[in-house]
Symmetry: C2
Subunit: 389 residues, 2 copies
Amino acid sequence: MDNFTFHNPTKILFGRGMENEVGAETARYSHRVLLHFGGGSIKKSGLYDRVVASLKKAGVEWVELGGVKPNPRLGLVHEGVRLCRERGLDFVLAVGGGSAIDSAKGVAMGAANNGEVWDFYARKRKPTRALPVGTVLTIPATGSEASTASVVTNEDGWIKRGFNSELIYPKFSVLNPELAFTLPPFQAACGAADILSHLMERYFTNTRNVAFVDRLLEATMKTVIAQAPKVLAKPTDYDAWAELMWAGTIAHNNLLNTGRLGDWGSHDIEHEISAIYDVAHGAGLAVVLPAWTKHVLDHDVDRFVQWAVRVWDVELDIFDREATARAGIARLEAFFHSIGLGTTLAALKIGADRIDEMARKCTEGDTRVVGHFVKLDTAQVAKILRLAA
Amino acid sequence: MDNFTFHNPTKILFGRGMENEVGAETARYSHRVLLHFGGGSIKKSGLYDRVVASLKKAGVEWVELGGVKPNPRLGLVHEGVRLCRERGLDFVLAVGGGSAIDSAKGVAMGAANNGEVWDFYARKRKPTRALPVGTVLTIPATGSEASTASVVTNEDGWIKRGFNSELIYPKFSVLNPELAFTLPPFQAACGAADILSHLMERYFTNTRNVAFVDRLLEATMKTVIAQAPKVLAKPTDYDAWAELMWAGTIAHNNLLNTGRLGDWGSHDIEHEISAIYDVAHGAGLAVVLPAWTKHVLDHDVDRFVQWAVRVWDVELDIFDREATARAGIARLEAFFHSIGLGTTLAALKIGADRIDEMARKCTEGDTRVVGHFVKLDTAQVAKILRLAA
């Protein structure tokens, strides 16, 4: 186990009706906030009305900025920064899924620091502060509601980059499983794939003596695998959504990477796919992950065996460990298919013609570290994408 | 799953050498602190020297109060409160195990509020503030290093009572597994029993649809069961201590009771044993827990079956679920024996003569709720203690 510090101060308000607490929670930090969200779904569902009623009751004024898209864009982050500065807003309240939250985190950094906010995503410099952020989550997926992460796409070159800082842990997040009832099945499935990917990225590590967190990761993976089919079968299954939503938060709140270095190569590869083709992040991950596992299997067969046996209930064949591991990978693919996700680029209607371009951008011509479990160069990324074709 | 709020802001600094950060971490809050600890072990081990060197380097002044005993006493808490007030100390730094930390939390509440601090433990009134507390943990056991809990014994009547408040989450806790290398085997075993008890108290619940946290609890129980024998076999096994120490913190930091109501009857019963006989808390729990499981088994056999199969690797006999459950209980007893703990009052050299007195004090003559999975009256507590005789 590696030395680590763990400090996650995000307050979670979980359960039915908890969005009605958002005004009181926000008022602890600010009475002038940017209310940031995506399209019209929160207005259709009535969530918008409940949130603004709660803000009004707590004496919190707000300025609205809707229009966040999946794979949130830098342009809208700039717009949010401008609004915060011009209107004197000092808190960002995101209502929606990971895209709204990631965009809000970008605004929070951009408004609190001078200069261009993209510099942080491009690793050119670090922020020294951020406006406080709060969230009302509607999609279990990215874990952004209790994470240090924000992922934004720069329209100039369609570059998608993630950034991590303890400055952007939300102060609070409201998690009401009912808010996910109206999610289209495809989005629900993409969310589950994203959660599973966060767990796999952490699970596949070269760090030794990480037995406890291995088991926590396995427990959380088993939960996603058990609950995702239930919410697809019955979108109003509160109990299944509750398990999936809480698992999604824990998957990415930094607890499950304590003492270990995860991989994250699959995320970097997927970002190249969704930056160019604007596919849903989870859909892209369902394509990359199986190909990635096949490519790196030889690196540590026993870790894949443990994963296959404990997570996927594969019977151990001690005399053919590789077959045991491959059976786990087959069950991963079958799981994605069972929740309606394809596992090939072709299934996303993406051809092989830009694979080399994606591989080059991902590794920035071999100058960027992609993957820690197995470090991938440009040729390896291209090979994984061809395996996924 | 029940609605819940979860908010644990304790910063964890985990690993080798982390105690050298204690000065810098403390200086974020205070430059005049009470340094609170137990006996001479931290001086013998050199930990004391490293802590005060770190404080000095950060310009933090301190006043010392040693002498915390297992089952920490109200008298010493009063002494700490007096020192904080008279010497103008506004931070309490505990160095030691759960007793030093629980005592420090008592001091932190007593010094920040007017009136008698025992009132909080006796549920007569609630504190409105507390001095900030930091800890350097030397014994994985109580989880107090990241919990809302403090347990103190009032010498007037030998009443042992626990108190919970978010006010007393430590601001930071240093967890260096090396600090546990010098623990006597009996104390190491008692710590493991305490951790396992925190997990069992949470596991046995009447709340339905708690599958995710069930799995996290099972993962943590399996870790304790796997790692405790290793630290007893080789007290300098860093990796095993690291797993056990981190599991001990997660077992009791409130994550694993999200969305569910645990039992806690065994803790209440054990407090009566250790209040009178001053036995180690973990040793008392190893006596109470098996008796408690046998007494409440009928209440929800299937929950015991799940526990036996998943935690203790008992093979499911679907045609005899009770036998499956009882095999789990037998393995619990065998585990305690394997780490050198007795599972009867007789093994602690405690007779049956004061069982009725303990049962009465525990339930305060049936006016106090003891247990949530199964609510226990005075007669039932006495029956459990007789089962344990």
